[in-house]
Symmetry: C2
Subunit: 416 residues, 2 copies
């Protein structure tokens, strides 16, 4: 009676080499955000199925791993549909649980509440290379802070973190959904087609200005709207003067304070940054999630397609679910992507401890054994890793293996 050896479909066992990097990254995340006053929190991996099906999760709601009711609650024969069999599911993100947690504990939490969550989430996606059905999410959120301070601290802390992970050239791109909308309004696109326009705009980095023009034309938008729109993008620069340009051009469509707010964020983050990154204003940045209400931002590593962190302000969602209006701003780290990139680069940035292996000949006396343990204890107290092993017949092979595992020194102890 032997076990099925492979993990369940789409999930993975994590080997010690990867765990070493994961542990290091988790540690650095905790330390970095803690120094900004963020505190850790955790929710159960199982959520009420009603909470997971509240329409906030978008497409993810189709990917829920559902959990069978237990005991008397499970009435298999009477069940008409899945809903009769299920009362819980594995969380697909950390945002729905955050809203529930905040609603449940608001009186016990500081205000603003600066939360750090690291935990697994599950999505029954079609398995594919590099995408798993269980993966670690890492979310940092500030609840109850309406000012740009929230954005500045989130971006500052996160870019400092990415810098500490040894990524030397990366870009922080910042935009505001209200600017996106004002640009579309100014150009004369009808409000109900903004989403269509933004989906096309989002491809700018791939298909370029001409590609965007073609797709907008295909959708049947007027040439004058398209010209007006792309004219803005041609003139805007990826910096403070770009924002200032839009502040002037979009007068009447854009509240002045929105541009002002964005300038405060870009300028503050630029001045205080500790990593060698570029902070840019990117009017083509869209970010998919519909719940964003203001600033949006993203970090991408130069030379690697796709972002490693993304976030923004979502002032309405928490309130809608928690019952009381609560402004919120968050940043989500692509933990698995970061780890994958570090693995590919054979990351060794963390300080490795000196590793010493002891090999004991079989049959060593009790007195000698104790002397060995005492010596090991001293080395451990001095900060070394000491692994004690019984000497194998094929000692040469054993030593090679230990060297491969990073044991740079090998001490041998014989019976006499």
């Amino acid at each position: 009676m032997s076990l099925k050896k492979k993990p369940v479909t789409g999930m993975k066992d994590i080997l010690p080499q990867e765990m070493e990097i994961r542990n290091y990254v988790m540690d650095l995340i905790k330390k970095t955000y803690a120094s900004y006053g963020f505190v850790s929190m955790e929710t159960p991996c199982i959520e009420h199925i009603e909470n997971l099906s509240s329409k906030q999760g978008g497409e993810n709601e189709k990917l829920i791993f559902k959990i069978l009711k237990r005991g008397e609650k499970l009435k298999l024969k009477e069940a008409q549909s899945e809903a009769d069999l299920v009362d819980g599911g594995l969380r697909y993100d950390l945002t729905v649980p955050l809203a529930r947690y905040y609603a449940n504990h608001v009186s016990e939490l500081p205000s603003p509440f600066k939360a750090l969550q690291m935990g697994n989430v599950w999505r029954a996606d079609r398995p594919q290379r590099g995408r798993f059905r269980q993966f670690m999410q890492c979310d940092i959120d500030i609840l109850g802070e309406p000012s740009a301070l929230a954005e500045i601290e989130l971006i500052q802390a996160t870019s400092s973190l990415v810098g500490q992970l040894g990524f030397e050239t990366f870009t922080v791109r910042i935009n505001d959904r209200r600017i996106l909308k004002a640009m579309a309004a100014f150009s004369g696109f009808p409000e109900e087609s903004y989403d269509t326009v933004f989906i096309i705009l989002d491809k700018m980095d791939k298909i370029g200005m001409d590609g965007v023009r073609n797709e907008l034309t295909k959708e049947g938008f007027t040439a004058s709207a398209i010209d007006q729109y792309l004219g803005l993008f041609e003139k805007v620069t990826p910096d403070l003067s770009g924002i200032r340009y839009l502040q002037t051009s979009l007068a009447g469509y854009l509240d002045e304070s929105v541009a002002q707010n964005l300038m405060t964020i870009v300028e503050s983050v630029e001045t205080v940054k500790t990593a060698e990154c570029q902070i840019v204003f990117d009017p083509t940045l869209v970010r998919g999630m519909s719940y964003y209400t203001g600033t949006i931002f993203e970090i991408s590593i130069d030379g690697f397609g796709g972002s490693v962190a993304g976030g923004g302000r979502y002032d309405e969602m928490i309130g809608r679910f928690a019952g009381t209006q609560t402004c919120a701003c968050g940043f989500s780290l692509g933990f698995e992507r970061l780890v994958m990139l570090l693995m590919e680069r054979n990351f060794q940035g963390f300080q490795k401890k000196e590793k010493v292996a002891y090999l004991l000949e079989k049959g060593i006396s009790q007195d000698k054994l104790i002397a060995v343990f005492q010596e090991a204890q001293k080395e451990r107290e001095a900060g070394h890793v000491v692994s004690i092993n019984i000497m194998k017949k094929n000692k040469k092979f054993q030593k090679e293996q230990l060297t491969e595992q990073g044991y740079s020194e090998i001490k041998e102890f014989f019976c006499d």
Copy 2:
């Protein structure tokens, strides 16, 4: 449309205060075992339902949270029983996954494999105070080391850990299931009733020698067997000479090497221990799990009922499931118990960072804001926690709250 605010039945949200202790304990566990050469590993939280139902999990197999098949695999109308609906479940321990992992990756792992696992497990137990349906387990296992070195390192590392958590008086109790059996055989109990005898013996610390005698008598065992049996316990001392006494008395029933092995362990651990703990030989220690084949051990904190860590040698289980014979020895930490005890004691043993809160008057100029961020950055680099906040109308209350959160210094910044 508001969310259900409470977590699902029997599971809990973890507040920042508890997270601080949990993170500290997890960190210390990782560091301590790493210094002995243990490496971290992880398996998915979902396991094949067949693996979870392989009879190794005992009573836990009745407590599985089962996961509905997905997509085309789910045929609700044709389903006759639960088994037709389910293909996975949440793991109820870390031992079944360890066996699967080892079988799957043996060629990529060092031998012996010294593994550290920390992860959630789920059991649909009846909810009760202090017992949850999702909880963290922490298992340390050595696979492939037949000698007493495995036991010595596991006990040494674990007692050093418990000592570092500030528990000053605790006891490590050690026994061997082969000694348990030899004592029962020597006394003349029939082999098929050993389990009954051991279940009664296990109550010795609660009901005493007379209580054990009564219960054994009630079970219908002969007075001579009972006298012989309890006579051994009267004479045996909780130390090396106790083991030596049994080595002599049980000659013919107990392999000499078993007693010798146990003496090596007790003596080594006693000599090298770094914490102020007692190492005792306890012939009444039984430990429930049927898969133990040799030494068994347990750590209990003096003055607190129940153990905080338990383990032993289980040389047959991994092989039975993995297909190839693999000796194994493990120690499981009662992570949730340790955290609970530390919470009750208001544990402050970890070095707290200096926490400074900044209060900014609303409307502060951009120049001043940047100066504030730069000052904060310097303090963070010096190792402090700095939390920047907008000054509230009720500043007095705000300051009180920050003080409560551990901010010992509060700096104020005004518009001019």
